[in-house]
């Protein structure tokens, strides 16, 4: 077994691979159902619906300004890992539809599964020193600086995002999306504990 306190390169690589793959499947499910979500990915989904541009491209572009913030506040390793995670997620969402597609999905069930998948993806990325972009970085900075739980900061951003979504989507879709966002944030709020998962 490797040392307890630090992840090896291989361990971080598999953590990032898990996070990017699970997040990509979650985004495929989300957009299959025409739902939105919170955070940077939610912003990209919303822009994608409004403009018709592909999620993978929009998500990749939106994240570019945040790398400088990430580098200043969280260091080089975090920024490189976040870039790898964001680029992998963008690439996977462009590539995946040729190999994997959902059929009929109950929207409520789909929202819960989306929430669990993307929650565990984010948790894996956080535990391996990465994130999925801008708002996640902001949440982590606020958690480390002020002890605010990253889950609550993200919820605040989501409220604004969902208000905008109401002008584009059916109210029923926004309600189902809200369930998914609650599940994501609950998974993070309950399980993102540096005092329990102690390796970095």
């Amino acid at each position: 077994m490797t040392g307890t306190a630090r992840h090896t390169l291989i361990e971080d690589a598999q953590g990032l691979a898990y996070g990017a793959t699970m997040a990509a499947v979650a985004i495929v499910l989300l957009t299959h159902l025409g739902l939105v979500t919170g955070q940077t990915a939610g912003l990209a989904v919303l822009i994608s619906y409004a403009t018709g541009w592909t999620f993978g491209v929009v998500f990749f572009v939106i994240n570019i300004p945040f790398y400088y913030l990430g580098y200043r506040k969280m260091g080089l390793a975090f920024t490189v890992k976040t870039f790898v995670a964001v680029a992998s997620l963008s690439g996977l969402t462009l590539w995946l539809p040729g190999y994997f597609a959902f059929g009929a999905v109950n929207p409520w069930m789909g929202a819960v599964i989306f929430g669990l998948m993307s929650g565990s993806a984010l948790l894996a990325l956080f535990r391996h020193g990465a994130s999925l972009g801008g708002i996640g970085i902001l949440g982590l900075i606020l958690q480390d600086r002020f002890g605010w739980r990253a889950g609550w900061v993200q919820l605040g951003f989501d409220v604004i995002l969902f208000s905008v979504a109401l002008t584009i989507l059916e109210p029923a879709s926004v309600a189902v999306s809200f369930l998914g966002a609650v599940v994501v944030n609950l998974v993070i709020a309950i399980n993102h504990r540096r005092d329990r998962y102690i390796a970095t």
Binding site: M1, T4, G15, V25, Y99, A101, M109, I190, R193
Partner: protein
Amino acid sequence: MSDPSHHSLIEDTQGIAFGVCMAAVGTHVLTHMGFVAGQTVGVAALLSYATGWPFPALYFAVSLPFLWLGWRRMGPRFALKTFIAVAALSLATALLPRWLEFERINPAFAAILFGALFGIAALAVVRHGGSFGGLSILWLLVQDRTGFQAGYAQLIFDALLFAVAALFLDWHVLGWSFLGAVVFNLFLALNHRRDRYIAT
């Protein structure tokens, strides 16, 4: 925040609920593709393909006898959590196909997805003090009685299981099933670390 070293009832509940949902999606992928796997889920899948009986009932029936062993070897809390996880997964695998369908899945991606989904599910349930079935307990008891390493017993059993599967299944399907089993086992081997995730 709650005590870092012990999970509360709510924390255990969400951990096991997460595991059951992810395992249900993973099992759905497995049976959709006609793949087999190792251990209890693999036995149930193989029996289901051979007899035509429904997977959920077989999985529940195969797991039940081992709960008593689990109680004796690991205590009543472990046995109760395992019973809840097994019963909930049986129910979830029976219901999920009504609410979530796949249109197409590339077999290589299906194998990786199954391994990742079942890996994260097993990790969550084990970290919250339960399990998804009995066979691993049997190998621990064999180790107690005879000194024969549980890891080897598990490996030999899975090798036999795949050998039997070779009589029923196309070798392509067998190969992809093997890839899924490798991803699952690598995921658990790398991430199941009691020295890193310290809460019980």
